[in-house]
C-alpha cells in the first residue's frame, strides 16, 4: 500500500505474453473489463494498428514496457466508452503519454502528488501500531494462560489486517466521518468539478461550499481508498 497503482509499474518490462497478462489484470482491477478479453493476439493487433508503438527487440523477443501498458489500458477504456479503434489510434498519435495516462482512473498524476502521507495517515497512525503490538501480546498471553480465561478474548479472533481489510475499514471510517452510513460507494451524478483533463469530482454544490479541512481530508481518504481498491466500488447497473 502507499503508491497509486500504475506508478509502481513505470519501469516495468516484459514480452507480449507478460503484457497481455498484466494488461488483463489491470483491466480487471480498474474495472474496465474482464481480464479474459486481453489476449496476446489483441496486443499484436494493436501494435499493427499503431495504437501501441513498435516494441523494442532483444534478439527474437519483443520487449514491451510502461508506455505500452498505459496505451493498452487506455485503449480498452476508450473502446468500452464507445470509441472506434481508428479514432483511438489517431488520438494516440496526437496525445502525449502523460495525457493518455491521465485518462486512466488509477494513474492520475494530481492524485499521486496529493499529500498521500498526510491524507492516509489514519492507516498508519502511530496509535494503531501501538495497538497492534498490545493486541498481539495480549493474544499470546491469553493463549499462555488459557487455563484461567474461559475463552480467548475478542482480539485473539481478529484476523490479521490485510491491506484490503484496512482499506475497507478506512473507507467505512472515512465515510462515517462524512456522516454516511457504512457501506459501498455508489456513483451519482452531481456538480462536476474538472480536476484535470479526464478527472472529475462530482459533489453536491451546497456541500462543497461548506466543506471544511477535516471533511476535505475525509473526502480525499475515501477517494483514495476507492481508487486503490476497485473491489470497494459498486457500479450502478447500466440502463
Amino acid at each position: 500500500m502507499g503508491q497509486p497503482i500504475l506508478e509502481t509499474l513505470s519501469d516495468w518490462e516484459g514480452d507480449v505474453e507478460d503484457l497481455a497478462h498484466l494488461g488483463g489484470q489491470w483491466c480487471a482491477m480498474l474495472r474496465i473489463e474482464d481480464r479474459a478479453h486481453l489476449t496476446v493476439r489483441l496486443v499484436r493487433d494493436y501494435a499493427q494498428r499503431g495504437i501501441l508503438d513498435r516494441p523494442r527487440r532483444e534478439g527474437k523477443t519483443a520487449i514491451y514496457g510502461w508506455e505500452h501498458l498505459v496505451r493498452l489500458l487506455t485503449a480498452r477504456l476508450l473502446l468500452r466508452d464507445g470509441w472506434p479503434l481508428q479514432k483511438i489510434a489517431d488520438e494516440f498519435t496526437i496525445l502525449s503519454l502523460e495525457e493518455i495516462r491521465a485518462l486512466l482512473p488509477g494513474a492520475v498524476p494530481s492524485l499521486a502528488a496529493m499529500s498521500y502521507s498526510s491524507a492516509d495517515r489514519s492507516m498508519t497512525d502511530p496509535a494503531l501500531d501501538a495497538l497492534r503490538a498490545i493486541r498481539s501480546r495480549s493474544a499470546e498471553r491469553s493463549i499462555a494462560s488459557s487455563g484461567r480465561i474461559d475463552h480467548p478474548p475478542a482480539f485473539a479472533r481478529t484476523p490479521p489486517i490485510t491491506d484490503r481489510a484496512a482499506l475497507q475499514q478506512d473507507l467505512t471510517a472515512s465515510r462515517q466521518a462524512l456522516g454516511e452510513d457504512a457501506g459501498e460507494v455508489l456513483s451519482h451524478a452531481y456538480t462536476r468539478l474538472e480536476i484535470a483533463s479526464g478527472v472529475e469530482l462530482h459533489i453536491e454544490t451546497a456541500r462543497l461550499r461548506s466543506l471544511g479541512r477535516a471533511d476535505a481530508h475525509a473526502v480525499a481518504r475515501a477517494v483514495l481508498a476507492t481508487l486503490l481498491n476497485p473491489r470497494l466500488r459498486k457500479e450502478e447497473k447500466p440502463e
Binding site: A127, L128, I134, R135, A154
Partner: protein
C-alpha cells in the same frame, strides 16, 4: 504562549545553615494566547466514549451512564468526532468514529444500550483507542473516556500491564480518561490507567454523580490550550532536588497535566542544600524548561526559568514573608499523603488509625478550607465504616490535591467556599467530595 515561573516559599537562602526550600514551578497560559476565545479555530475533538454494559450496570447505573453520554454528545460541536464503544463479554463498536452532525443518530444508538455479561475492560478500552486513532487527523489528539463500575475480569486485568499500555498509547497522542462508578470498581486500577494515560480520573459514588465528570471532561477538552507538557528540572550544583507531586516521568521529563484555559499546571519541588560554606551570591538553585505542543501539534518550549535568591543572615531571613500559595499547595500535598495512609488503614479496617490520621491531617490543613472540607467528607464516610467508599474518596481526593490543574487566579486558601468554586470552570473547581455531583445537597444525601 506559556509562561513558566518559579515561586519560592521563602525568597531567600539562609546563611550558615542547611536549607530546605520549597518552590512552585508554574506553567500558565500567556494572556495573548490565541484561540482562547475563538471557538472556530479549535481543532475538532476526537472522543471515544467506552461504556461498561456488564450485568452489574443494569438498572439505574446504565441509565445514568447513557444519560451522561448523551449529555456529552449533545454538547459537542457538529464537526467534533465521536465513537461509542460498549463492552461486556466482548467489545462492540456501537458507533464507529464519525462527525457528530446533529447528534441524533448517536444519541439514539446510546439509548439502545442494554446490559449483560462480564467486564472485558481492556478489550473495550482498546476498541475505543482504535476508533480514536481512525477518526483523528494525524496532528490532533484523541481522547478515550473509559467508564466502568466493576473490576476487569475478562482479558487483560493486570494493573501494571494496563498502565504500561496506557502510557504507550498516550505517547501516540491518544489519552485516556477513566470514570469509575459506585462501590465496586477498582479505584487504583482506574487511577493508574488515567495517570499513565495522561487523562483525568473521575468517580461517582452513585449513578447520578456521573454527570459531573462528563461535564468536567467536556469543559476541559473544549478549553485545552496546550498538551504534552514535559517539564525538565535541573538543580544547581550541590543541591538535592525532589518533586513532590508524584507525576509520571518520561526519561528526564516530568509529565504535567494538559493545560486548559484559566488553569495552571504546577510542580512542587523541595530543594535541600547547604549554605555553610562560601557560595556565590548569585547561586543558581533551580532551572526549569517546559516542552509542550499546541493543540495543532506544533512543538514549542517555555523557559528556561531560573531560580536565584539572595543569601540572608537568620534575622533578616525570619523577617521575609512566606508565599501563601506555595504554603497552601504544600498543605494539600501533605493532606494527600496522609489520606493515602488513611486509605491503607481503612482497607485493613483499622478505623482508630483512620480517625487519628484524619485528625492529624485536619490540624495540618490550617486555614486551607478546601482541604478541611474534603477531610470532613472523608470523616463522614469513615463514620459509616464504609471501606470501599472511603478508599475511593481518599484515592481521588489525594490525586486531585497532587496533580489538579490549579486555577490561575486561585483565591487565598482561607477564602475557599463551595459557592465561590461553583463560578469556575468545572475542571478548575476544588470539589469538597470528589465522588459526588457538585450540586448534590446533604438533603439528597440523607434520603
Amino acid at each position: 504562549m506559556i509562561n513558566l515561573t518559579i515561586t519560592p516559599q521563602h525568597a531567600a537562602r539562609l546563611e550558615g545553615h542547611d536549607n530546605e526550600l520549597y518552590a512552585l514551578v508554574r506553567a500558565v497560559a500567556a494572556q495573548n494566547t490565541p484561540n482562547a476565545a475563538d471557538g472556530a479555530e479549535k481543532p475538532p475533538l476526537n472522543l471515544s466514549i467506552v461504556i461498561d454494559r456488564s450485568g452489574s450496570m443494569s438498572g439505574q447505573p446504565i441509565e445514568e451512564a447513557k444519560r451522561a453520554a448523551a449529555f456529552l454528545v449533545e454538547r459537542l460541536r457538529p464537526r467534533d468526532r465521536v465513537a461509542i464503544v460498549t463492552y461486556a463479554d466482548d467489545a462492540e463498536v456501537l458507533v464507529a468514529g464519525r462527525s457528530v452532525g446533529s447528534g441524533v443518530e448517536i444519541t439514539n444508538a446510546i439509548r439502545s444500550i442494554e446490559t449483560a455479561g462480564s467486564t472485558a475492560l481492556h478489550d473495550g478500552w482498546m476498541a475505543g483507542v482504535e476508533q480514536a486513532a481512525r477518526m483523528r487527523e494525524p496532528e490532533q489528539m484523541g481522547r478515550v473516556l473509559l467508564l466502568s463500575d466493576g473490576r476487569a475480569n475478562r482479558g487483560v486485568y493486570n494493573p501494571a500491564i494496563l498502565a504500561q499500555d496506557a502510557a504507550r498509547i498516550a505517547a501516540t497522542g491518544i489519552t485516556t480518561t477513566t470514570c469509575g462508578l459506585g462501590a465496586h470498581f477498582d479505584e487504583l486500577l482506574m487511577l493508574e490507567i488515567a495517570k499513565a494515560g495522561q487523562g483525568s480520573a473521575y468517580y461517582g459514588e452513585r449513578a447520578e454523580d456521573l454527570i459531573d465528570p462528563f461535564r468536567e471532561e467536556l469543559e476541559l477538552l473544549s478549553n485545552l490550550l496546550a498538551r504534552r507538557l514535559r517539564l525538565s528540572l535541573t538543580a544547581g550544583e550541590g543541591i538535592d532536588l525532589t518533586v513532590l507531586n508524584g507525576y509520571r516521568q518520561d526519561s528526564a521529563f516530568l509529565i504535567l497535566p494538559d493545560l486548559a484555559e484559566g488553569g495552571e499546571a504546577w510542580a512542587m519541588v523541595r530543594l535541600r542544600f547547604s549554605e555553610r560554606t562560601e557560595q556565590p551570591a548569585d547561586r543558581l538553585l533551580l532551572s526549569a524548561l517546559l516542552d509542550f505542543e499546541t493543540m495543532n501539534g506544533e512543538p514549542l518550549t517555555a523557559g528556561p526559568s531560573r531560580l536565584r535568591l539572595p543569601r540572608l543572615p537568620a534575622g533578616a531571613f525570619a523577617a521575609i514573608p512566606v508565599d501563601d500559595t506555595v504554603t497552601a499547595r504544600r498543605n494539600e500535598l501533605r493532606a494527600a499523603d496522609i489520606q493515602d495512609q488513611a486509605r491503607v488503614a481503612a482497607r485493613a479496617r483499622h478505623w482508630p488509625e483512620v480517625d487519628r490520621l484524619i485528625a492529624e491531617a485536619k490540624r495540618e490543613a490550617g486555614d486551607n478550607m478546601w482541604v478541611a472540607e474534603s477531610l470532613d467528607s472523608l470523616e463522614r464516610i469513615a463514620r459509616r465504616r464504609d471501606v470501599e467508599g472511603f478508599s475511593k474518596e481518599a484515592v481521588f481526593a489525594s490525586q486531585k490535591m497532587r496533580s489538579r490543574l490549579a486555577a490561575s487566579d486561585d483565591l487565598a486558601p482561607s477564602a475557599w467556599s463551595a459557592s465561590s468554586e461553583s463560578a469556575r470552570a468545572a475542571y478548575l473547581r476544588k470539589k469538597p467530595t470528589q465522588g459526588r455531583r457538585f450540586d448534590r445537597t446533604d438533603d439528597e444525601d440523607r434520603r
